[in-house]
């Protein structure tokens, strides 16, 4: 029996889709059978981030409406064994799917896959309710900004109200230089305010833009700092106890670490 993880945030543009793509791919690299579901009906994007946009035949709405079987709608990622995508419909809206239908679909997919990773749309309306309906666990994505942390707080409350217990926090796009000079909230500040467990910290990384341009998740790029963070997050999801790297290492230390990983991974 697999596990259903929803990636949510409340606020748009904090990196839910990128996170879904990277965690899903990260788990697949580790040999797990994974299906990613894009629930952002009408504004689908997980397909392009994954580089699978040209292979869509059926979508999520086709599956819940019974136009096709779920197997037929799943796009198999040829690069990573065991990775699949169920794309959202682009020409419909969030009301085309109900929370009950999502719950049923998750139950079904869970039988066959180790992980069902759901990309939740921004907002707290129907799309959010659909995305969390079948979820066993949740990862709340935020960035170190007032607006994003505020929305994360609201989402944490709503998740708990909907019986999705113990959500984990992912702080995305952290800029170590700005944190260092006191112009960006650090992880302790954010954890202090939100009072939930941390699953990982992803540094702001140009390579994310490059990998999105290409449609190849950064988690596969051994030279990407964000990719490294996503690999560690995937490992934590698999139950490994990997400490979150300190954000403000001593001078020169981060450089050494980068070099170390660079050496080790090339």
């Amino acid at each position: 029996m697999g596990e259903v993880i929803v990636i949510t945030s409340g606020k748009g543009g904090v990196g839910k889709t990128t996170t879904t793509a990277n965690i899903g791919t990260g788990l697949a690299i580790r040999g797990k059978k994974v299906v990613l579901i894009d629930t952002d009906i009408g504004l689908r994007n997980l397909d392009v981030v994954m580089g699978l946009e040209n292979r869509i035949v059926y979508d999520l709405v086709d599956v819940v409406e019974g136009t096709c079987r779920s197997k037929q709608a799943l796009i198999k990622d040829k690069r990573y064994e065991g990775l699949h995508l169920l794309p959202a419909a682009q020409t419909r809206d969030k009301t085309a799917v109900s929370p009950e239908q999502m719950q049923k679909l998750c139950e079904e997919l869970k039988q066959e896959f180790d992980f069902v990773v759901i990309d939740c749309p921004a907002g707290i309306e129907q799309g959010f309710k659909n995305a969390i309906a079948g979820a066993d666990k949740a990862i709340v994505v935020t960035t170190p900004e007032v607006s994003a942390v505020r929305d994360a707080d609201r989402i944490i409350g709503l998740l708990e109200a909907h019986e999705v217990k113990n959500p984990k926090l992912l702080v995305n796009r952290v800029r170590v230089d700005m944190v260092k000079r006191g112009d960006m909230m650090n992880i302790e500040d954010i954890l202090d305010i939100l009072a939930i467990d941390l699953i990982g910290v992803v540094p702001d990384d140009e390579k994310i833009v490059i990998s999105t341009n290409k449609g190849e998740p950064a988690v596969t790029d051994t030279k990407s700092a964000a990719g490294q963070a996503y690999r560690e997050i995937s490992s934590r999801i698999l139950g490994e106890n990997i400490p979150v790297m300190p954000l403000i290492p001593e001078d020169g230390f981060i450089f050494k670490i980068k070099k170390f990983f660079g050496l080790r991974t090339t």
Binding site: V146, R154, G182, D189
Partner: protein, 102 residues
């Protein structure tokens, strides 16, 4: 690379002497206040209800200026340490104290 880090250190040292409040602390304080409101789900109607009840109670003991009564949910420094805690602050102008209590 090295040069970049040294520049940063200098700036840090400078900001230490000028004691300019870092923008992250501004962000944190603003966030805390916003969340107090969000979490308490305080609607204007809710505050009006409290206001009405407070007026009723206080009027038993003193004459107050109802139109000037101001009540709001805000934050304050806690007694122990410098933690910020939510506070309900009411500003109630008194016109006259009744003696009927005695």
């Amino acid at each position: 690379m090295r040069g970049g880090i040294d520049m940063l250190d200098l700036k840090e040292l400078f900001s230490f002497f000028t004691k300019k409040e870092s923008s992250k602390n501004v962000a944190k304080e603003r966030l805390k206040l916003v969340l107090i409101h969000d979490r308490a789900n305080v609607s204007p109607q809710f505050l009006e209800m409290i206001k009405g009840e407070i007026i009723k109670v206080i009027q038993n003991y003193m004459e107050i200026d109802e139109s000037e009564l101001d009540i709001q949910l805000t934050k304050t420094k806690s007694d122990e340490g410098n933690r910020v805690v939510p506070a309900l602050v009411a500003n109630i102008p008194i016109r006259n104290v009744k003696n009927s209590g005695k």
